[in-house]
Each structure stands twice: as structure tokens, then as C-alpha cells.
């Protein structure tokens, strides 16, 4: 049977003033009949693909540069993943790392909107032979 539903993770950047609780209430208020689960990083929403897309569009408009999202394979509360059912949580360290780096993405998107010039990253230069000899002398003493 073709699955016509989608589960989507919505993550709030640590720099945002929006809370997961606010998002849950907001999604319920849209009246799209979606399943919503509050999490520590944001919310998960689930339902027919079109409704999930509509809801996400509205949610992102609340704080465009600080709300991020990706789809999720497992349904909300799936026994193989949900902590309430002692499910395993593979992939969470990755999610945690990306979540902690969302402020960088927020700054980058905001800077781009403001038309700031893109910084030029200098490539690290190799040290000179003389300096390298000095370091060898310092270390070997």
C-alpha cells in the first residue's frame, strides 16, 4: 500500500525566542488535523503530505532563519525509536551536533538577506623552513 503520509522534524535554533510549546499550539490552531509531538529541539508533525507541507510553510514564516526542518523516516511514537517504548536512538548525536550549529546558519542566512559581502576564507599557509627549524630546536631542547 502506498504511504501518503509524511513525518517532519521541525527544529528551532537555540537563538530563536520561539519555544516548542508555542509551535505545538500554533500547529493545532491551523486545524489541518496533523499529529504533533513536542520534543526538546522543536516538534515533529505527521499527517497527509500536503497538509504537512502547508503547516510547515506557516511554521517557518514565524521565524524563517531560525526554524529548520527535514523529513523523518519513522512515524511519531514508533516503538522502534520512541524513548517511551525503550527504542534505540541512532542518529541523535548527529542531530544534536547540527542543532548546536544552527545559530551559525541563522547568522549566515541573516547576513545574506542583509546583503553583507561573503567573507573570503584564507587558506592556511605552510610555515617557512626557518620557522620549522626553530620549532624543532625548541621542542628538542
Amino acid at each position: 500500500m502506498q504511504d501518503t503520509t509524511e513525518t517532519r522534524m521541525i527544529m528551532i535554533s537555540p537563538t530563536s525566542d520561539i519555544t516548542p510549546d508555542q509551535l505545538v499550539r500554533f500547529v493545532h490552531s491551523l486545524g489541518l488535523g496533523l499529529g504533533v509531538k513536542e520534543t526538546c529541539y522543536g516538534i515533529n508533525i505527521q499527517g497527509p503530505v500536503e497538509n504537512v507541507k502547508k503547516a510547515f510553510k506557516e511554521v517557518r514564516n514565524l521565524d524563517p532563519n531560525r526554524i529548520f526542518s527535514k523529513v523523518r523516516a519513522f512515524p511519531i511514537g514508533d516503538e522502534r525509536r520512541c524513548r517511551a517504548h525503550h527504542g534505540s536512538r541512532p542518529g541523535y548525536p548527529q542531530l544534536e551536533k547540527e542543532w548546536s550549529d544552527l545559530p551559525k546558519m541563522d547568522h549566515a542566512l541573516t547576513a545574506m538577506e542583509a546583503g553583507e559581502p561573503v567573507p573570503v576564507k584564507k587558506k592556511p599557509q605552510p610555515i617557512s623552513i626557518e620557522r620549522f627549524k626553530e620549532i624543532i630546536d625548541e621542542v628538542s631542547q
Binding site: K70, V71, A73, R80, L102, M105, H107, K121
Partner: protein
Amino acid sequence: MKVFMVPLNSLILYDLIERFGHEPLSLMSEMRDRVVNAEIEAPPLNLTPEDVKVGLNYAGIEIPSGIRGRMSIWGPLLDKAEAAIIMHDMPYTYGCVGCHRSNTLLNHMVRKKDIPLLEVHYPNDDDEAKILVARVKAFLEGLNGN
């Protein structure tokens, strides 16, 4: 356009591709069909005999089974790709996307495929993030012919 991304489950890449108006090809969407399919006994750990045959299209029989198993899912996804973004130096590549040999093979296959390709680095500070966003945006807008 359908844009393939490496790593296949990156939140940052998925979001940027969608934000700039394209369709990300992700591991999560591919796994969705498998984990909600009741015919598989213990998804996503189980492979079907069909998966094994599919994996052989991308990695030979002498290649470790873990790589072939991954390629049975990643390979068909790459076949659908019309463009690709590879992000290097991800600090979190362990777990399901942490097999270095699989990633090396995947990067090789992406580069070999004749599609527009962007290679970027995971940002470690604000400046690198700005460079990443600017490059991804320019690449994705270029796909539209802008």
C-alpha cells in the same frame, strides 16, 4: 530539480536545498517506505532478497556486505539525482552514515555521474557558514538557469 546530498541525512543540507526551491533526495524519505511497510519483519535492519540484487548493481560481490547493503538504498536514490551537493568534514559521520568506505564509494559515484556537483565543507565558524550558504544558494539558483 532533484538534488542528491552527502551526507544523506543532513538537516542543514536538506533545509537549504528545500529553502532555495529544490527537492532534496534524502535517506529519510527512502527509509520511510521501508519502515512503514508491514511486510518487512524488522525494518530497517532487514534487507529483502531484492535489495541484495539491487546492491550488486553498485558494489561487486567481493565488497563487504555492509557497503552493498547501503548502496542498495543509496544507489537507486543517486540514479534519480539531477544535481548533487557533497559536504566534507562532517564531525558526526558515525552510525548509519559513518562507514568511510561506503562514503568514499558514494562520493566517487556522485563525481562520476554527469550532473552539476557542488562540494562544500561543514562550517566551523560564522564565516564558514556564510561561505557555505552563499555557495549553496548560488549553485541552486544556477540550476534554475538564473
